[in-house]
């Protein structure tokens, strides 16, 4: 097998090594191409990771459903009727749609986005107040700094406890003051703080100035009966969110006598859509990087081919001598192609090392993803493998041009005395 022919390799390295400067110049194009390719790919990966981090803790396969006002008159009801869900809807939906994995009902004090005064020892914060089930934590994860989140016992026993956001904590407590076990007052009812959560750079649907109370406690304290404000729903991994969304709306429309074509009565928000948009954005970015990188690489490899072509011209005499001494066309061609491969592979590795270094520097500088979505910019091993393989196969193809040129050198012409 020629691949393991030590003489061939020493012959190739000899030739390249004797012309180090030219060899280096030849490789420059591929070195830069590889740097560009890896940097582009790595940055695209970094952005992709960055977005992943932003969305970490939010179930991608989820949607939110709330009630709005009808826009069509139906079954004797006038338009503009406010749709208010009942807590029983949660069970109905869960029963009828098996694709629903988690359904967390929620109720909010006041209307949506309206704040409520929360008091503690003469201080006030205008916060959102939610009645929630612990399941909500599986859809929008809360990062707790202290204490715990709501649990099942809280619901079962309607405990008068709450989890507050860091922002709320700052408004109601002194800096460094221990809040766990302290009471806060909402609409005249006292709740004991059991946990504090902090913003985590992620999408935060609820905001940081919010108070979470067990759903059952909320019902009793604020006398909301069987009302339910909205639902956070996670669907099973292999189910499409819009499909479930449609089913939910149909069931609710029937139940609340809403016109089938009424688009405004039920409000909903599909999280998966955003995820899909972003992941297709990063995928396009990755594809584009690859595309640009590969063509730059092609240009680099062509540069190698070009220089080898010049080299072949320069070495006409040498090749002629080799032919006269018994080098068969196959041997000559193989040597030039192996030279092309060695040059490309070597240059590729150098470029790879440099670009990985640059990526590591970028990572150290901005890789935390605090300011913008850019986390751990690095290329994956398959990406590297594919690029490298592509590069080497390109070099073989492109190396054929100078190789065939070398084979066409007729010894008689090469040896003709000037």
């Amino acid at each position: 097998m020629w691949l393991f022919d030590k003489d061939l390799w020493s012959e190739v390295f000899h030739t390249l090594g004797k012309n180090l400067f030219r060899t280096f110049l030849t490789m420059l194009g591929v070195i830069f191409a590889m740097i560009i390719l890896i940097l582009l790919l790595g940055s695209a990966n970094g952005m992709s990771n960055g977005f992943d981090k932003v969305f970490a803790g939010t179930a991608s396969n989820s949607l939110f459903v709330w009630g709005q006002s009808t826009s069509e008159p139906y079954k004797g009801f006038e338009r503009g009727r406010r749709i208010r869900y009942k807590i029983e809807d949660a069970d109905i939906l869960k029963r009828q749609i098996p694709e629903i994995e988690i359904l967390a009902p929620r109720i909010e004090l006041g209307s949506h986005r309206e704040t409520v005064s929360v008091y503690r020892e003469g201080r006030t914060s205008g916060s959102s107040v939610y009645g929630d089930y612990p399941e909500i934590d599986n859809i929008t994860k809360k990062k707790l700094v202290e204490g715990r989140f709501l649990n099942k016992t809280d619901i079962d026993e309607s405990k008068k406890i709450c989890v507050i956001g860091e922002e709320t904590y700052k408004l109601l407590f002194d800096k460094g003051e221990n809040a766990i076990g302290q009471d806060i007052r909402i609409n005249g009812v006292f709740f004991t703080v059991v946990g504090i959560y902090k913003p985590n750079n992620n999408i935060n649907i609820d905001g940081e100035n919010a108070v979470f109370i067990p759903f059952t406690t909320f019902q009793k304290s604020f006398n909301t009966g069987d009302r339910m404000g909205w639902m956070a729903i996670a669907v099973e991994p292999n189910t499409k969110v819009p499909v479930v969304e449609k089913q939910i709306k149909e069931i609710l429309k029937t139940k609340y006598d809403i016109h089938p074509d009424d688009k405004r009565a039920i409000g909903s928000f599909d999280m998966s859509e955003i995820f899909n948009n972003i992941s297709s954005f990063t995928n396009v970015l990755k594809g584009f990087s690859f595309f640009v990188g590969i063509f730059t690489l092609l240009a680099g490899v062509i540069a190698i081919s070009n220089i080898l072509l010049i080299t072949v011209k320069e070495r006409t005499k040498e090749i002629g001598v080799r032919r006269a001494l018994g080098a068969t066309p196959k041997v000559v061609r193989r040597q030039i192609i192996v030279e092309a491969i060695v040059l490309t592979a070597f240059a590729g590795l150098i470029g790879f090392a440099i670009s990985v270094g640059i990526l590591a520097m970028l990572n150290a500088q901005w890789g935390s993803g605090e300011d913008f979505p850019f986390v751990n910019p690095m290329i994956s091993i398959p990406q590297f493998g594919i690029s490298f393989l592509l590069m080497v196969s390109l070099s073989v193809l492109i190396g054929l041009i100078p190789a065939n040129k070398a084979v066409k050198v007729r010894p008689i012409e090469a040896l003709r005395e000037e």
Partner: protein, 233 residues
Amino acid sequence: MIEIKDLHKSYRMGSNSLHVLKGINFSAKAGELVAIMGSSGSGKSTLLNILGMLDGADSGEYVLDGVPIKDLTETKAAQYRNKFLGFIFQSFNLINYKSALENVALPLYYQKVGRKERQEKALNYLERVGLKEWATHLPSELSGGQKQRVAIARAMAAEPKVLLADEPTGALDSKTSYEVMDLIQKINDEGNTILVVTHEEDIAHMCKRIVHLKDGVIVEDKKVNQVRAEQYV
């Protein structure tokens, strides 16, 4: 050893063709030392190219050591050249980035001789041309005469049937020329067949036989009393 019958060769130069070899009949036995003489344009280089399988004849026969040389592919020609022929050129044609030893070992590399054996053989031949101590030197560090001796060692390394020397002394002063001829005579003494193309009378007379070419035909083919080059060295 060499058998040539009615060899013709012409080159196309645009619309008209140039008839260079017009029926050459020539034979050389093993162990001969033949000088091929002629002015430029006489066809001696063309003849040497055909003998060296660097070029093909239009018609005629060429048999080398019992093997008919005809319609060779590039690959076959390369293999035959490697096996049958050793070339010595006017301008030495050493590969300038390879040491003397590596240059001598090159034909053996193409014969797929193992690395170690190659080195040993090459060193042996360098010793025979008196350049053993120069083995690691590059051609640029050698004098003209030394370069030609390396080239001779290289031509002999593959143990060819015939050595073809194209103006081997053309680029050398007379003293070094005689040294090189002395070496060629000694190699011939050992029984090697050598063809020398030259236009220098004194060099031709150091061979055993002189063939004169003129306008593509052999006009004279005579045996001569060999002048030993040794006496001038």
